[in-house]
Symmetry: C2
Subunit: 143 residues, 2 copies
Amino acid sequence: MDQRLHFITFATPDLHRARSFYKVGLGWEPLMDVPGEIIFFQIAPGQVLGLFDADKFDQDLGGGISTSGISGVTLSHNVGSEEEVSSTIDQLKAAGATVLKPAQAGAFGGIFHGHVKDPNGIVWEIAFNPGWRIDDDGKVVFQ
Amino acid sequence: MDQRLHFITFATPDLHRARSFYKVGLGWEPLMDVPGEIIFFQIAPGQVLGLFDADKFDQDLGGGISTSGISGVTLSHNVGSEEEVSSTIDQLKAAGATVLKPAQAGAFGGIFHGHVKDPNGIVWEIAFNPGWRIDDDGKVVFQ
């Protein structure tokens, strides 16, 4: 199995709020939007974020699992400065996110960051990490 | 906020089993491995999967959240044929994963797939999706 992730899919109780948050609030462009089922956004080269109706998400897993919300995972978006961490968190809040941790120095990794929760429970970390970069060929480097 | 994901991080109760599963079982190469804290694997251009000690994961979120396992999210790895879905699931099982849904036709999207759970609770879908491709520039296309 190649070291490669193609889709990240979240159980999404309220697709209308998801659409409003990402499309209207953040200005993101859906790759595909199937009302009542799933909204896809491309979020990396060759990779898609799927916001999947929560009942269908459970059904797709085989019916033996009932999802009680999103837990144990965070998504991180890196920006170029501490100021941009704060302004991005402000933008997310204005779009309807709840602030979990205001912008501050992180306990791990020498970063400056904060966390918000989107209307369906996805936790986003917004971070400035001076020890991290992406090379032109897409390789991630920790300095 | 750009439409871009840089890190996906999971609360990981057992880093030893995570290391054994991904590094030994699947042959994946860590980008960085900090014993007792976090293991990083690059899994897309410019993107990293982080397996973060579960206590530190909770602490990093600000202390107000206690994670009770991973829920509401799946990661998908696409392969080139139905046979490869089955053989990849066999490989994951041999590496220590639990099969949740054996390889079969999916209820949504015209795909053939199955699901497994890794030793720390991350659910992976292995899928053959004939209506999906990645163009040379990294753009995902649904046909």
